[in-house]
Symmetry: C2
Subunit: 230 residues, 2 copies
Amino acid sequence: MSFILYELAAADKNVRFSPHCWKIRMALAHKGIEAERKPWHFIEKDRLAFSSQGKVPVLTHDSNVISDSWKIASYLDKASPNTPLLFNNQESKTLALFVNQWADTVLLLPLARLIMQDIYSNIAPCDKDYFRKTREKKFGQKIEDISADREERVWEFRELLSPIREALENQPYLSGENPNYADYCIFGYFMWARSISDFQLLDLDDPINLWRDLLLNAFNGLARNSPHLS
Amino acid sequence: MSFILYELAAADKNVRFSPHCWKIRMALAHKGIEAERKPWHFIEKDRLAFSSQGKVPVLTHDSNVISDSWKIASYLDKASPNTPLLFNNQESKTLALFVNQWADTVLLLPLARLIMQDIYSNIAPCDKDYFRKTREKKFGQKIEDISADREERVWEFRELLSPIREALENQPYLSGENPNYADYCIFGYFMWARSISDFQLLDLDDPINLWRDLLLNAFNGLARNSPHLS
């Protein structure tokens, strides 16, 4: 049984920065699954043709091909039910589903604004035209302007994190005493930023730092020791 | 120990239509708490001065005054720990927190568009100027135009509900085998629409209907039998 994970890579191919790929990177570590990790660039749509879509993460497991991070996480618990579960029960799974939806709808764009210029600076040369075109269309601004006011905007971003702060008041992880996929869904966003930007997202006294540190250290420091630019 | 709940009322004062008040209405029923329910109109900010803010729901419990539906729900489990809990454990509470955040950020505005004209038609005469002014400013359109294309927009709204549909694939309620506050957070939005509009939100074969029917029937048909305009 062999697993292959396609991950978005920066100009330095060792830097893997997609938030959705990081969700799966942590999920694989949680389950103790080793995967071959292949770097991929935005413009290499052809290389994903076998998955009938054009985005990473894509996981292959022998002859199975799964795309979309949520589907991959669900698949992993089914394919490997005897390793630690990403969803301990149906309530855990519902929690992760809504945490993930919340992150993808509430956090993604405001965080993207903060690190947009850093992403652009660090992606592979082959990706730059594609990235500029698609992001400038989406935001209606030049890449150089999207992140320009980030010192002011970071306050809004910190405000958006209040549900996480509130959930962590009484427990170390969103999932309770131990991390599971709900935690990785949010942590993926922090790894997105850490991998490709040195911008300080959190106040030093923000309690979210404690949770992030725990996850940076998890699985023998997998996330902390990953190549990054910050 | 006596409870008073201030609820947003329509021109017909028996019609109470705020989604956030409905969350609390269901929460009180869940806990078997009787509350005196006082009607309130948008422009009656003065009547809420005692709560140091200007929105409903506001709950008073003897000398305690609590505003904000999330804070009220948290308060209820503390004030009445021996009646059925709204949050069975910390994971339940985290689930409800994110479901609530998701609903308030993802569902609120698209659903508001669909029923805006109906709300305007049915609110108290004293509220009409205030409502028109604030909503037209928010949406950048005339009230009459906000809902104009709702037959097309309802498809987008149904798409937004996909996490609920997915969560209900394997269980009758978002919270599992029994409803709790996570369910009421979403159900409140359906009661908002039902109370004040006859617009059909769901396809007849949408599995969400089953869940909504269960909650309409809960607590001896509390929600089903509530005065509404649809």
